[in-house]
Symmetry: C2
Subunit: 917 residues, 2 copies
């Protein structure tokens, strides 16, 4: 059959003028309806007016807003629908009702407008009542239409959230007058009165009556949907999601079907596989004699679709098989033929779209209609199982399977999580800094946390913000909660590194540690009260909530194995302790990309010695103090190197400024002074002399190596001695010594020479040979610009993208909270640059460093060890930039492996696409 108009795409009755791949013209909804119609699935017939008309509409405001012939085309298309369904638009005896819906290229849920039940007027409503034999249904539909038309088409709605909706106000008055509370309690007569009152309102407000001509209604609705593309909330939504203004919306006009005409009607939602577990087989819920929105609304409890799921559901809820059969019949039992048809349709759609489908259906008078299908959302567990199963079923290949799972989702599988069934009282929401779930008693200091740990009491460490001194407290806590700081604050970074649940920057917290009080949004908690954190959502929850432990399924292992075959990027972990190193290997890390050594200076026997070093007045005192630390550090290195057993381990020499190791308050200082046998004044003077206005840009990193070479010397000796010790027991080590904050070739040269000297000395005196390389963190912009010079000395570069982002933007991550939200809200930054690597600015500098560095030193090894190494988008950018490896928190290793695989696959697809051209 010929097309009626170039901008109208008909579907239904065996015809489908559109296809799934025509989303640009038909919107997502219209394209999928056309596709289903082409598969001869029972879709109510209709047609889609293309997005081109939307563009035309806005270009011709003030004139006739529709292209030539469109009106005639719509009329002809309506005739086609009438022919298929056997009803006529505006026919008082057998009226056709239609829906008018928006549909953009990408889903913009709830942003634009819809009109249902269009075609009703004073005479067709009577016809509907007759043919459905259900006057209440007919008048309820008319009442809804009047309300929707008034609100959407005539814009009779509140202008601010405090104003009541004028139609709802009328309904409320009616219910009050009748002495009822529920809409369903209103009689047919009540509904008729409501229709009149609604029309009265419309007359008063607009000066015109509700149009009785269905065609007039239709064109008014079509215009309203086009106009809704530019309503305020749609504009804001597009700005936030970066959707171009000129895409426009399509309009789909479709005949209505009803699941609420009686007990031979139903409506439901079905998944082709279980979205929680991935188990194959239809899974979903339905309601008899109901409308689609009733399933979602939760007023009535829906029943299961399959018998298997129904029985499982009953068992879980302690319901006997008798009771279940009586009160909770499954679709399989209630409508066995339609159930089989639904299963068949599900299989057809799944085979067609090669993915698990989420299907909306309605049964009108024992006839099944499919209203929508789309790829179903699913849990991480289900995503992996479905992907692996579908490869087994030869529905998809392995690469497609790998592209189907969001790397970020994998986190769900590696951390305990809150039982989704459990009730919870959410007090506030902070930033989801480190995933997982944690429940414990509130403590306000690392000391309290350690004390509780000795008694095996689980705790949540609550701090305004954390500092390196809190690390041991964080280690023993179940979770960490801070009032300040962003996604890369100290608490966030350290907690992610530990794989510890953490919520940061929860501004609603008012912490009074002295009194042991935590206030949050009007509630007050005491030290010892229980609190629960959800590190995946940022929720702070009162009391205890049960959690679910993670498991790694065989499907997961198989899936990750496929990922490893695809990826080119190596994946390492940021691990500072033997414990972290072990977890990292379990999660598939191929080495340690960042072993921070500052933690090796904390802990008993160390911090005091380091403080002695800092306040020492002679080189001898200093050497004496450092001598005390070395054995501890040697042991730390032995255990880390042993855990990695020959895999590369990148050790970063001390990075933070020394003042971070000194106490802050006068009381602590006085304690320390008396402990160390120095005067308070002397200690205070040292602290004051170390004060910095901008510690981020101060005396830290390799600058310490230049000004205080003894500390680096101690670290390097400990490291080489550890490697020698291990060698004796046959364990190999591959050591990469990394100098932080290098910005100049000479700076690196001097420090590298010092390290080589120490190596020679230690190794010679032991007659040993250890493989080691020396490289630098690239984290100041100058190192990127001078990468060619630096690469002549460095054997590897590791991009420290946290600091590189800070310095490239000129933003301190600790202070960014004050304005970052405004920058994200106003769309100045598309993302938090500390969460996703900035491809243009920071990425531009990295690209420069990579090009210049590789040119100067062909053997240069390139990696990234900033927090971005665990962010899938950033991992993909690193792949495109041509790095050799990424390094991230142990718990992010699987996500990074998958993201790396996806990056490789995307690259291949792009390459193939270019070849086609």
């Amino acid at each position: 059959m010929a097309r009626v108009h170039p901008d109208i795409y008909f579907f239904g009755g065996g015809i489908a003028e559109g296809r799934a791949n025509m989303r640009e013209l038909l919107g997502g909804k219209g394209a999928n309806l056309a596709e289903m119609a082409s598969l001869k699935l029972p879709v109510p017939p209709g047609f889609t007016i293309s997005t081109r008309v939307c563009t035309y509409y806005y270009q011709h405001s003030g004139k006739d807003p529709y292209p030539r012939g469109l009106r005639e085309g719509v009329a002809k298309s309506l005739k086609r629908i009438e022919k298929i369904v056997g009803r006529r638009f505006g026919d008082p005896d057998n009226p056709l009702l239609v829906s008018v819906r928006s549909g953009a290229r990408v889903s913009m849920p709830g942003m634009m407008d819809t009109v249902l039940n269009l075609g009703l007027n004073d005479s067709t409503v009577e016809g509907l009542a007759r043919i459905t034999n259900n006057p209440r249904f007919a008048y309820d539909s008319y009442r809804r239409f009047c309300q929707m038309y008034g609100s959407v088409v005539l814009q009779l709605k509140p202008t601010n959230p405090h104003e009541p909706d004028p139609f709802e106000e009328i309904i409320d008055r009616k219910k009050a007058a009748r002495g009822v509370t529920q809409d369903v309690e209103l009689t047919t007569e009540d509904l008729k009165e409501l229709v009149n009152e609604f029309r009265q309102l419309i007359r008063e407000r607009t000066g015109h009556d509700l149009p009785q001509d269905p065609h007039e209604q239709l064109w008014a609705a079509i215009g309203a949907v086009f106009r809704s593309w530019r309503n305020e909330r749609a504009i804001v939504y597009r700005k936030i999601h970066g959707i171009p203004e000129d895409w426009g919306t399509a309009v789909t006009v479709q005949s209505m079907v009803f699941g609420n005409l009686g007990d031979d009607c139903a409506t439901g939602v079905a998944f082709t596989r279980d979205p929680a577990t991935g188990e194959k087989g239809i899974y979903g819920e339905y309601l008899v004699n109901a409308q689609g929105e009733d399933v979602v609304a939760g007023v009535r409890t829906p029943n299961q679709i399959s018998l298997k799921a129904g029985r499982r559901w009953a068992e879980r809820n302690g319901i006997s098989e008798e009771e279940r059969r009586a009160r909770y019949r499954t679709l399989e039992e209630a409508f066995p033929d339609l159930y089989r048809e639904l299963v068949r349709i599900g299989q057809t759609l799944e085979k067609h779209f090669r993915d698990m489908q989420d299907i909306e259906f309605t049964i009108e008078r024992k006839k099944l209609y499919i209203l929508q299908t789309r790829n179903g959302k699913r849990s991480a567990e289900a995503a992996i199982r479905i992907a692996v199963d579908m490869v087994g079923e030869r529905l998809i290949d392995r690469r497609t399977a790998l592209m189907r799972v969001e790397p970020d989702q994998l986190d769900q599988l590696l951390h305990p999580r809150l039982d989704p069934q459990a009730k919870k009282e959410v007090l506030a929401r902070g930033l989801p800094a480190s995933p997982g779930a944690a429940t414990g008693e509130i403590v306000f200091s690392a000391e309290e946390a350690l004390a509780a740990a000795k008694e095996s009491r689980p705790v949540i460490l609550v701090r305004v913000e954390t500092s390196p001194e809190d690390i041991h407290g964080m280690q023993v806590a179940q979770g960490v909660l801070t009032a300040r700081g962003g996604m890369t604050s100290h608490a966030a970074v350290v907690a992610r590194g530990m794989g510890k649940c953490c919520v940061v920057g929860c501004g609603e917290l008012v912490i009074d540690a002295a009194e042991g009080l935590l206030s949050v949004n009007g509630r007050t908690f005491h030290r010892g009260d229980y609190l629960t954190l959800d590190g995946s959502t940022g929720e702070v929850i009162a009391g205890k909530v049960p959690t679910i432990e993670p498991t790694m399924s065989p499907a997961f292992k198989k899936f990750m194995g496929w990922a490893d075959q695809e990826r080119r990027l190596k994946v390492r972990a940021n691990a500072d302790t033997p414990h972290d190193a072990k977890i990292a290997r379990d999660f598939g890390a191929e080495g340690i990309g960042l072993c921070r050594t500052e933690h090796m200076f904390f802990g008993e026997g160390r911090i005091d010695a380091l403080r002695e070093t800092i306040i020492s007045e002679t080189p001898e005192q200093r050497a004496e103090a450092l001598k005390k630390i070395k054995p501890f550090q040697r042991q730390d290195f032995i255990e880390i190197l042993r855990a990695m057993n020959g895999l590369p381990v990148t050790v970063r020499l001390l990075d933070p400024p020394l003042h971070e190791f000194l106490p802050k308050t006068e009381g602590e200082l006085r304690d320390l002074a008396s402990k160390m046998g120095v005067s308070y004044e002397r200690l205070k003077q040292v602290c004051d002399s170390l004060y910095e206005f901008n510690p981020m840009l101060g005396l830290r990193g390799s600058r310490l190596g230049i000004t205080d070479p003894d500390i680096y010397k101690t670290q390097v000796e400990a490291l080489f001695e550890a490697a020698i010790e291990l060698r004796k027991s046959g364990v190999k080590s591959q050591v990469e010594i990394m100098l932080p904050l290098i910005g100049d070739r000479k700076e690196l040269e001097i420090l590298a020479a010092q390290i080589h000297d120490i190596a020679r000395e230690v190794l010679n005196s032991n007659g040993a040979k250890i493989n080691y390389t020396i490289g630098t963190m690239v984290e100041v912009p100058r190192a990127c610009v001078l990468a060619d010079e630096i690469a002549q000395v460095a054997e590897f570069f590791s991009f420290g993208t946290n600091d590189l982002t800070q310095m490239t933007y000129g933003i301190s991550r600790d202070d960014a909270g004050k304005f970052l939200k405004a920058y994200l809200d106003r769309g100045i930054y598309p993302h938090d640059p500390f969460a996703h690597l900035d491809p243009k600015g920071v990425g531009g500098l990295m690209a420069m460093a990579i090009e210049r560095g590789r040119k100067a030193n062909k053997k240069l090894k390139l990696g990234i060890c900033g927090e971005h190494g665990g962010d899938p988008a950033s991992v993909k950018l690193c792949h495109r930039l041509g790095l050799d490896y990424v390094s991230c928190s142990p718990y992010r290793v699987p996500a990074a492996r998958l993201a790396a695989a996806q990056a490789a696959i995307e690259e291949r697809q792009k390459g193939a696409a270019f070849k086609d051209v």
Copy 2:
């Protein structure tokens, strides 16, 4: 005559095998001696062994270290000398003595070794005594030779500074035994004994006697000079000054002449023009019967060379003409023929080298010898006068004249300076942050300074460091002295901007402001005691020192006019006040490149209103508070724009974080709270909420414009209202509104749109039209990388190289003091990057920004407004980078104009040089 060896260059007796342009082979000294010989000037004959031999020497250690034929060549050259001077090397009757000196391509003063009086032994010393008829002279020369040979050739010298010199020890013992204190009091016998004791020491220490064979002495001395190229202090010196190791030194062997053989001998130093004033005519000092070092040593007072200068000197010192003629005879009077010869030689050399010469001469028995000539050092005043005069004399062209003056020198002419004749007790030395001299009473706070100013008492403001609150105190102080901070600390930057004498980072200061005490290196001063600062040297001086006021001579004006004709770069000034703007124009600024507006928020009636703004709780309170500030700012802008009378004025909107405007101590906070009628707790809470870990990277610059748009709105309104007001009285304005800290195109877009809106509103309501442009400071690295995007919105870029340097290096200028010295000492950084623009790192980013920016916006105007804009090396870099203008402190404008001219001339010369190739 034929060359005796390819590596030996003879000079003297009418021969000169080398030339001045052969410094690479002959070293500076050898090349200039050859040049003078070629001019037939009376140079004692000699020869230079080229630097190639030095290279050969080091390549053949352990073997014969000299190229074939060198020994024979040296012997032949000695014969030539003998022939010319009529004495023979080693001849007991008429011995020739020679000096053996080092000489590198560039001067390395005192780093390498020299041996004088070589050729003396037990028999030639007697001959010398006979022919000079002066045994004491002969034995003193022998004694000196033994000592020098022992120390330099045989390395008998102390190994550390605490050890005494073994030869000096023997002399001291001898003087003690003779009961005398001066060397000259030792008799010929004493000197003979010293020779014997020295030789005894040499035998004991080396097992060998002092060689008696003059040829053996000579080769030992030549080897010692070559070896001294690699002595420790020479290596360190080269490292610091970036002199390549492989240049090597030349060795010059020259016959000795003596100015100390009797009253017909003399020695002196003559300048061809007065080095202090530039006045033409020979100027210098000499001593009868003396050695060269006596003139410098100051044991005897030297006499003037010319009669004119001698009379002037006597007059100044209150000496009568009779006494002068009797006791202080000039060379012109004592040796009239030789004086005329010296004048002639001076003229010859000046004409030849086309620059003022500094000549060392010796008169031996009424014969004049020239020992050295070099371009003379001179004061700024002299430099300009000489340059301008020489153009008048057609000795040099204007461009050469412009290249002759160091731009930095001009500072001396613009600021008062300490009387160089005055005595001074230097207490300590800080960093010379802002030139000039200042004397005043010590005060410790801005308040004290203001109080003293009301009584017209001059003060020196002494602070640990300064902050914006000190600015009014700084304005009224004569000078500023701080204990902390570097060349670009707040005090330094602000003081330079004010043209105020300032010394910063003087670590020796111990300040007790509460007690009103200042201790420095053991001396204690009280509030009100006098202190003097020399901002050009960093000296902190006790008490009052008289100062000299600056004058701008006609020569200066002519000279600067020539500079303006040459330069391509425009020069603007950083000026924040009408007073600064006026000075800037007087110094030749062509606009204001940076008008900081933060100062407009300090001062009475403003700071309180701004604080109200900061702590306001409602938009209305905020608007009310800002309304109070606007009239003040409008008036400020009116005066600045009027002072610049149509020249461009770049106004930077508020840049510092708001917490800088709040008081710091609890006492101040409590005062403010009661003054503002808010609770201390509320005020404290606001302050705490504004606290930042790294304020440099925090909520400041344009980020304030995004989060607190009202402040920028007030500023922009005040600015446009000011321009309109001026327009009414016929004064034009050219306003450039500059947004600081921009790092993203969208950020600039939003702020530019806000400014355009305000402009429209203000200008429309006044029916006025004002020329304005909107641009951005480029000071975060990201702005450089994304310059193409930003330039699509910005009409100009102004590089804020202070912050750009901080972020490119990852160094806070306020904290850099802790390690910058170590970085400079170890040669990691060739210069302080805050003093001289880093050409590779920061310059590399600037080059990228310029290329990308210009490509995207051909009309983009480019400038620099960081402190580097007043540094000549940085100005030249800016020229090469292709900027349109530089902007600097008003007092640096002349230096920048000259540097810009020199950059243009250098570019032309380079271009010409390339053309030649």
